[in-house]
């Protein structure tokens, strides 16, 4: 069952075609990687799915509903996190979580925070000022915030960027637990192909705003006859550039 359907999505920023007729689906219960080189249009696509950027044309259906006309309903069952957004450093962790729990209309605010604090092992941090947390702790806090509303679909833009290998690995484990134990579908971007191979059920490759390929990491590696996803990435990313240079 497709939880997210993107069809013929186009976004032009003046002369720049950031997204150029992109179509893909995300199946419920999967971790799906949205991959592509810098500037491929991943962030722009994610922001359009969140109704933070208005598409030039095309449709985005989440839970079968066009996002733009059903903002409240859809956003209530979705959440988002990325290193380029942060929770206010001048609030306590507990206060930040309570604010977002209330924003999402969570019935039992403190009960929910308790439950997630255990899940992410951040109970000790609840009383701390958010600005004093380490990067790893912030990553957990941001994921906690992103689960407050029990989302069905979680969008993460480079959640493991700038994390050290240890924290990155813990974060990956957490994403898998979020999927397995809480039944959350995850669409996320990353430039770390090893990581993607490890945790993604499916990956979608895009380049210059267009769909390139989709499949399980194993299938794609086989299809392109390479030894790993990194090489697949290089082939797909460079394919277009080489052809451009050739003509």
């Amino acid at each position: 069952m497709a939880i997210l359907e993107v069809q013929d999505l186009v976004k032009e920023f003046g002369p720049v075609k950031a997204v150029n007729g992109l179509s893909f689906e995300v199946q419920e219960g999967t971790i799906t990687g949205l991959l592509g080189p810098n500037g491929a249009g991943k962030t722009t696509t994610i922001q359009m799915i969140l109704d933070l950027i208005t598409p030039t044309s095309g449709t985005i259906n989440v839970f079968g509903l066009p996002i733009h006309d059903n903002r409240e309903e859809v956003l209530g069952k979705m959440n988002f996190s990325s290193p380029y957004v942060s929770l206010p450093g001048n609030l306590r962790v507990r206060e930040n979580l309570a604010t977002f729990a209330r924003l999402y209309g969570v019935k039992d605010v403190w009960g929910k925070i308790d439950e997630l604090a255990d899940f992410f092992n951040i109970r000790k941090l609840l009383g701390r000022m958010t600005s004093t947390l380490s990067t790893g702790q912030l990553t957990r806090l941001n994921l906690t915030k992103a689960l407050l509303n029990d989302p069905k679909l979680l969008l993460l833009d480079e959640p493991t960027a700038s994390l050290d290998p240890d924290i990155a690995d813990r974060t990956r484990k957490m994403l898998q637990r979020i999927k397995n134990e809480r039944g959350v579908t995850i669409l996320y971007t990353s430039h770390n192909m090893e990581e993607v191979e490890e945790i993604c059920d499916t990956v979608i490759f895009i380049d210059q705003g267009s769909f390139k390929d989709q499949g399980t990491p194993t299938d794609l590696v086989k299809k392109y006859g390479h030894k790993d996803l990194n090489e697949v990435f290089l082939t797909i990313a460079r394919g277009s550039e080489f052809s451009k240079e050739e003509d």
């Binding site: 933070l52 839970f63 990325s82 957004v85 942060s86 001048n90 977002f100 999402y104 209309g105 509303n149």
Partner: protein, 282 residues
């Protein structure tokens, strides 16, 4: 596995018809800002300290002017009253601008707007914060004015209510406008958030009646909602009555400003979503 098809769509369409603002989301944002005030000295200083200083400055000046014995002119009432009401206006404007800027500074803006929060709920929360701020600062200034300078704001009686509401609404409208400018032109437009009202002050007949302005500027003055409040204030001092023309002028001009400026705000938000600049605000 769950099926998301027709039933959910139908239910949703039904829901869309009762498209109302949600108090719990407005409340969430209000509490979020109250958390900040709970422990931030600079914030409390900004809100209470400067108005008090200003009040003292003008209070002593008024005492001095009163000593000059100008017939029929009570400087304490006219000038201090104006200082207090003007300050309420700036409090309202700042409350709205800062409530927005706070989330931009903290890079929290996207977190807020990926929630189901509506723009109207966001606006409502800032206006309620502005009201809380006006009431708190107003009470404090009124007390100081009373005990230090024997100015009793209750001489304005029930006129206080329309005065305060009109200042609240115009301040909020200007706050929205500066917010829209920051959305569009980036945080370099921040200075405007704090200076915008100074552009209005000379023409809004705050400390002197409209009649001292040159004819051209009088027309400008009557376009501005605060003018009616300050003229009204002087009228109440002089006659004990608030002329209904001034009240009407305040309400009509305020509605016009509020509608225009909040339209500009909504429009700016849409433009920014179009340009993809929401995530590039800082």
């Amino acid at each position: 596995m769950r099926c998301f098809s027709p039933s959910l769509v139908d239910r949703n369409l039904a829901k869309k018809k009762i498209n109302t603002m949600r108090w719990y989301r407005i409340q969430a944002l209000i509490i979020r800002h109250l958390y900040l005030f709970k422990r931030s000295m600079p914030r409390l200083m900004d809100i209470f300290f400067w108005p008090i200083l200003e009040l003292l400055l003008w209070g002593f000046l008024s005492l001095y002017i009163n000593k000059l014995n100008i017939v029929g002119f009570n400087a304490v009432t006219v000038l201090l009253g104006a200082v207090i009401f003007w300050d309420l206006l700036t409090q309202s404007q700042r409350a709205v601008s800062v409530a927005f800027l706070e989330d931009v500074w903290e890079r929290n803006f996207l977190n807020i707007f990926v929630s189901p929060l509506r723009l109207s709920e966001f606006l409502a929360s800032t206006i309620i914060l502005a009201l809380l701020r006006i009431v708190a600062v107003g009470l404090l200034m009124a007390l100081i004015a009373f005990f230090f300078y024997h100015l009793n704001l209750l001489i304005f009686g029930f006129s206080l209510i329309p005065f305060v509401l009109n200042l609240l609404v115009f301040g909020a409208a200007v706050g929205l406008f500066t917010t829209a400018l920051i959305l569009r032109y980036g945080t370099s437009a921040q200075v405007l958030a704090f200076g915008m009202l100074f552009l209005v002050q000379p023409f809004a007949a705050v400390f002197y009646p409209v009649s001292v302005l040159p004819q051209m500027l009088q027309w400008v003055a009557y376009l501005l909602p605060p003018t009616y409040v300050f003229e009204g204030m002087r009228a109440v001092i002089a006659t004990g009555m608030l002329p209904s023309g001034l009240l009407l002028g305040a309400i009509v001009s305020n509605i016009i400003f509020f509608v225009l400026l909040s339209w500009y705000f909504y429009r700016s938000f849409a433009v920014v979503k179009m340009k993809g600049k929401l995530l590039k605000l800082d």
